[in-house]
Amino acid sequence: MTVMTYREAARRALAEEMARDATVWALGEDLGRGGIFGQYADLTARFGPDRIVDTPISEAAIVGAAVGAAMMGTRPVVEMRIADFALCAIDELVNQAAKARYMFGGQARVPLVVREPIGVWPALAAQHSQSLEAWYTHIPGLVVVAPATPADARDLLKAAIRCDDPVVHLEHKMLWGLEDEVPDATNAAPDPAATLGRARIARPGDDLTVVTWSRLVHDSLAAAEILRAEGRSVEVIDLRTLWPWDQDTVLASVERTGRLLVVHEAVTVSGFGAEIAAVVSEALFGRLKAPVRRLGAPRAPVPYAPPLEEQVRLTAADVTAAARAMLG
């Protein structure tokens, strides 16, 4: 066990994979100075500028080139800087990366990882704050990952790099500084199939299941703690991987608790919570004690001013209130 930040865990994961496999490389803007969140700090000194590649401001080319490089047998790790900028490279991700293997009848493999820092960070406003994970879950060919803890920041990134299909790897801007214990890893690290697609019961409980991911895992845990004082037992599931998602773990939990609240930072409407709610409502029809509820952002862009931003950013208090309401 070592205590480290989410940033450091992710940084080490990349460094270890690069040390292990010479075909792994990273590309993105300003990586040579450590990346804007420091998640690439010192990697250029270690691996050189040909493997930690500073790119022009050319998001389409960053992803498009990574597709070609992945097809040619390397494993590019693409840094998008801010998830919103990935919208400048959607053709490359959705029409090219996600479909190449299929369209070409299995001739191509596209083992690339697209790292996208998501979420609200104070005062970044509408064009730097989005969480669009639901979009990626809708696209055949993509794996979608969203670590919430330092341990997962490491293990899921490693698994993503080892995955032979394109992975959208969503790291939350507010989590970079989060410190927690990270189990010492053998370097013979995660097999993608054993790691991706597995949820984690972050806190066991009996009265209500909260399914969440990324930043809101922590707020949900805080809410669960508050509710414990009120005699309520809330199970918090950190989904970790959104596609494929761990239906077994979620369904088993909700079957037991009878109540499901899905919590995410993204806009509620057509968020990934809708998919979970639809699946669970169908699978456990007649066995739920309450309707499945979703707690997400209103369908509004993220505003700048603090009192406005507060209106669209979920907090532990929001989760607590929603859970309390469901528990009756």
Binding site: E59, P303, A321
Partner: protein, 342 residues
Amino acid sequence: MTEPDAAPRRNVDTERLMGLLSEMARIRAFEETAVAALESGLYPGFIHPSIGQEAVPVGVCAHLTEADPLLSTHRGHGHTMAKGATPTGMMCELFGRASGVCGGKGGSMHIADFRVGMLGANGVVGANILIAAGAAHALKVKGETGRVVACFFGDGAINRGPFLEGLNWARTFDLPVLFVCEENGFAATTRTGVLTAGDGPAARAESLGIPSLTVDGNDIQAVDEAAAVLVGAIRRGEGPRFLLAHTYRLTGHTSMDAAGYRPEGEAEERWTRDPISRCAERLRQAGVAETAIAAVIRSAEEEIEAALETAKDAPWPAPEAAFTDVQDLGAPVPTRPGGLAR
């Protein structure tokens, strides 16, 4: 045409130059005040100061009226003020107040002041180039002649696809756009020279059929003169033009960036070419009294000081404002208490 500054200037219109100095000083005062206010924790986030680059927007906007739309960038305070916006609305916006020019919803990266034709900063590098082309296309559709759209962007933006698509578009449809590339040597922490192939912004524009001028962007008179030529041609209906202005970002990329990636002495050396000092020096040489120059600068500082005081006391937006101006149909419905809006 390069570096018209190289040759000594024949005559200086001191009145005009005093006006330009004043505009630059206002921007400088705004940026310095905004940085200091941010560092004191008076508002959240960060800003991209344009300290050192003031001559470009001031020289260009001297040839624009409020009827001429302008599209700006993340580093847009200078463009906005040069376009005629009052600093108070912008300062209040930085402070996230209801009286901010965007009601507190945009912040520094999304400043806009439609009253003076400033149609928006942009948080996405290069995106404004296409919007500018389209704003000009609207003038064509509406049959309006004589108006000019100005579009500012950095030397990093020329590596994004919209640069190609927007310039090709403007030339193809012969639209009245002035593209202004502020070559400050950096894209965030990266030297733009290293990641820009070929002969740079102007060569690319020329390859797209857009005539260009290249100037020392720290020489306000050079910018002023070049803008006069280019804007004049555009107004006469000759189609788009390109201005490449060499300048330097005297601060870090953001107010939080110490710019440790710059070799020691570089910024210091560049400060000696600060456009405001150079302008003041030229005025002195033209016989303008030191007191007159100081008065202009002092007055700029006072104006910004007043804007700051207004912003400090300005009321916050009402929480419900988070849900307005999303869209008319299907807008979110506020439901607090008991949860957020849906």
